[in-house]
Amino acid sequence: MHRILLLTFLILLSPTAIGQAPPDQPKQSEPTVRPIASKHPHHRMHIDLDGMVMNENSETLPEGCERIAGEAEITVHAGRTHARRFNGKIFAFDQQQWDVEPCTRLRITLINDDDIRHQWMIHELPVYLHPPFGMFTIELNGKGQKTGTLITPKEKKTYLVHCDLPQHMENGMKAQLKVAGGDGDLSSIPGLTAEETPDRYPVEWPNQAYALLGIAAFTGITIPFLLGGVLRKRNGASPTDRWEKDKDEA
């Protein structure tokens, strides 16, 4: 099934782009960005030794947008150091949520602060703008930065943004992009929302917990007496008195 994706890439390849043989030279002389897709002039894919920008769209208007309503720009850092704020997480973006207006041309610059691969991958965008899966991705092979563009759709919606390397989203590299305020929150966004299937952590009883238990127990003992006093004042007799009385009558 992965061939669907590969086929799509191939469809996007223009004959001229294929004709450009890769430079048969060592790393230094390869151009930093080499566009290889041009059938849809704005759905381009750039790939080089530093990473790739896949499926960007800077011109085609989403359905319902009459014009580009505005320009916006975000800079996202990715890496291990950004997860230090979140206990039990390893990787993170420096921000976990971005709010953008609809029909806005959004330029995203991803800065990778780690020496390994990270992605800024967004899902469920309109498939006609980002074929074949409605995804847009910036990927960096290591330290460095890349910029890509998309145009936000008209609808009020919350989009998943993550790094798809195994265990990167699971370990904290998850965020959400809200267009027009979004239509809710996603789960497991570090520092923002609870996890769907949270871990079970050990519980320990320090002295304070025992003290709290003691106070609660003492309070529990006093409640019937206090209640009794209140009722006696109101009815002239405590519930215990009345119970004794009922028993005698029986």
């Binding site: 099934m1 992965h2 061939r3 669907i4 994706l5 590969l6 890439f9 191939l10 390849l13 294929i18 043989a21 890769p22 048969d24 060592p26 790393k27 390869e30 080499r34 290889i36 790939i47 080089d48 030794l49 530093d50 990473g51 790739m52 896949m54 291990r80 039990g88 390893i90 990787f91 780690d114 020496d115 390994i116 691969r117 991958m121 899902h123 899966f133 409605g134 991705t137 990927e139 092979n141 290591g142 798809d164 390397l165 195994p166 265990q167 990167h168 989203m169 699971e170 370990n171 789960s187 497991s188 996890e195 769907e196 299937t197 949270p198 871990d199 079970r200 952590y201 028993k247 029986a250």
Partner: protein, 555 residues
């Protein structure tokens, strides 16, 4: 009611309950004159059965072909390696045409080859990037695993692998959780040429620290720049933490079949799958090597030295997994919880292995991509590594192979023994020369000949046979069109069943055997006992109520 009457009633009530318990029908019973019938075999369902060979689209990958001037030999098995990836592994991911690279999942900087230092027509400086990938790991987003990798139908143990650096999604496409073809067990075979300067960069994409230890490969303890090069934290090397990279630089002087593995918490990290075969090929002119053999198995572009002496070459990676160890990464997400469970609570001395894999798969999935395919009168080169926790006793049906090298060291002619069981201690390697000549010694003629571990636990999956590392040496004339051993579908299909793998279906389920050895229809519980137990429970309960009511009346 007097106290004595109450006591008697209470006693009778208890007696009734006790009698009911005694008479209650048990989980097992005896049949009458006729034993119970055999349950009919379960109706096949698409949820349960997996197609034995599902990749019809890969048919074109099987042919002998030339991509970008790289000759790639035919690989007729059901799931051959992607020839585009083979081309990228021969030319380097930076030099291969973008069109070819796009047909793989590799990144542009995965493998860079340069500098023909000795002027013999092949590159001598090789830069390799490995990532660490978790397969079948857990997620805080729900009760599912990601990305999934099945070793056999329905079996997805948690495991880790080194993988060549890839790009894009970890999965096959946006609507599946199944890992893409590059992310699989075992960790890939790495092939370099004797005398090459090889820089192996570990990019730690995982949440735990890791390292690479080049077991048996000629490498200095410290490289020219003075950096630790042995991958061992206890002798000074800093563990490679998540997000960090570390390059190991070597110029191996001796050829041979070697090994590499993570040396951080080796007991668990090796057993989780962070180990692979490392081959140093003899130096020859114009010797462009297939640097990675993902999933091990057939080498579709062998080295010059191997081609001089052999018709085909196969890498055989034997590996075992403990399901309890793998379950640790599926039971929590917080790395601190996983670290505690794995490093301090898991005790390898109390552990047993459950899954035995050949080239990342257990039988019957081994039939898809771990076959040895040959024709009569051929010379086949086999490289074997035992990455299991215990002894491997590799046995070939119908053939006696000859040992040419042990642990990467060629054996003198007098020690090149010919036999049919080869014992390998953990981490040992073996080079074998398998001849498919029908001479009664090296071979007994064409057929579908099994080869497997003869330590019998090795041929089980979760304790059930047939499973484990069973695979087959298949002569081409015995291959089906799809590249599977030409065995009747009625024999093969029931094995590709999740129910069967889970032990829920009888082992013998074909023809008359299904009636003879199928599951027994459960007995109806003894009618008399059901009635008696029911009556006694009722009586006991009634007596209890009488006793309690007598108390409230007397008050």
């Amino acid at each position: 009611m007097s106290h004595s009457k109450r006591l008697i009633l209470l006693f009778c009530s208890i007696l009734s309950f006790a009698a009911a318990a005694l008479l209650f029908p048990g989980a097992e019973g005896e049949s009458s004159v006729t034993a119970p019938a055999t349950l009919p075999p379960a109706q096949p369902s698409s949820e349960d059965l997996v197609p034995p060979c599902r990749n019809k689209k890969r048919a074109a990958w099987r042919d002998e072909q030339v991509i970008e001037d790289v000759p790639i030999s035919a690989s007729p098995a059901c799931e051959p390696d992607n020839p585009n990836a083979v081309t990228a592994f021969v030319k380097g991911t930076d030099r291969v045409a973008m069109e070819t690279l796009m047909r793989t999942r590799l990144a542009r900087d995965t493998l860079i080859k340069s500098d023909d230092r000795d002027g013999d027509g092949d590159p001598d400086v090789i830069r390799i990037v490995l990532e660490v990938i978790e397969l079948n790991g857990s997620t805080p987003d729900g009760d599912y695993l990601f990305p999934t990798y099945a070793i056999a139908p329905g079996i997805q143990p948690g495991l880790w692998v080194f993988a060549p650096k890839t790009r894009g999604m970890a999965v096959k496409h946006a609507f599946t959780d199944e890992a893409n073809e590059m992310l699989r067990a075992p960790s890939p075979v790495i092939r370099v040429e004797q005398g090459d300067t090889v820089m192996i960069t570990l990019e730690n994409t995982h949440y735990f620290p890791h390292s690479i230890h080049l077991h048996g490969v000629d490498h200095p303890w410290r490289d020219a720049a003075g950096h630790y090069n042995d991958g061992v934290p206890q002798t000074g090397e800093r563990r490679v933490l998540p997000g960090e990279r570390k390059t190991y630089t070597i110029t191996p002087r001796q050829p041979g079949t070697m090994f590499y593995h993570c040396h951080v918490q080796t007991d668990t990290h090796l057993m989780m799958g962070l180990n692979g075969m490392f081959v140093v090929e003899e130096n020859r002119p114009d010797n462009w090597l297939q640097t990675f053999n993902v999933g091990a198995g057939h080498v579709r572009h062998s080295s010059a030295a191997v081609k001089e002496r052999y018709d085909r070459e196969y890498d055989l990676h034997y590996q075992a997994l403990d399901k309890e160890l793998g379950a640790i990464i599926q039971s929590a997400n917080d790395p601190r919880l996983i670290a505690k469970a794995m490093n301090r609570e898991y005790d390898l001395t109390d552990a047993t292995e459950d899954y035995y894999l050949l080239n990342g798969h257990a039988f019957p999935y081994t039939l898809r991509d771990a076959l040895i395919v040959a024709k009569p009168d051929e010379n086949v080169k086999l490289r074997v590594v035992n990455a299991q926790h215990g002894l491997l006793a590799l046995h070939f049906h119908g053939h006696k192979a000859t040992v040419t090298a042990l642990d990467g060291v060629e054996q003198p002619p007098g020690l090149q023994v010919t036999r049919d069981v080869f014992d390998l201690a953990p981490a040992q390697r073996l080079d074998l020369h398998l001849q498919t000549s029908d001479d009664g010694l090296h071979g007994y003629g064409p057929g579908i000949w099994l080869f497997h571990d003869h330590v019998e636990s090795g041929i089980t999956t979760n304790g059930m046979n047939p499973g484990g590392n069973i695979s087959a040496l298949v002569y081409e004339e015995f291959l089906s069109e799809q590249g599977m051993p030409a065995v009747a579908a009625s024999i093969v299909q029931p094995l590709f069943s999740k129910r069967f793998q889970a032990g829920q279906a009888p082992v013998w389920q074909q023809g008359e055997a299904a009636r003879l050895y199928g599951d027994v229809a459960p007995l109806f519980p003894s009618t008399g006992r059901v009635i008696a137990a029911g009556l006694l429970v009722g009586i006991g309960f009634c007596l209890l109520v009488i006793v309690f009511r007598s108390f409230s009346r007397s008050r």
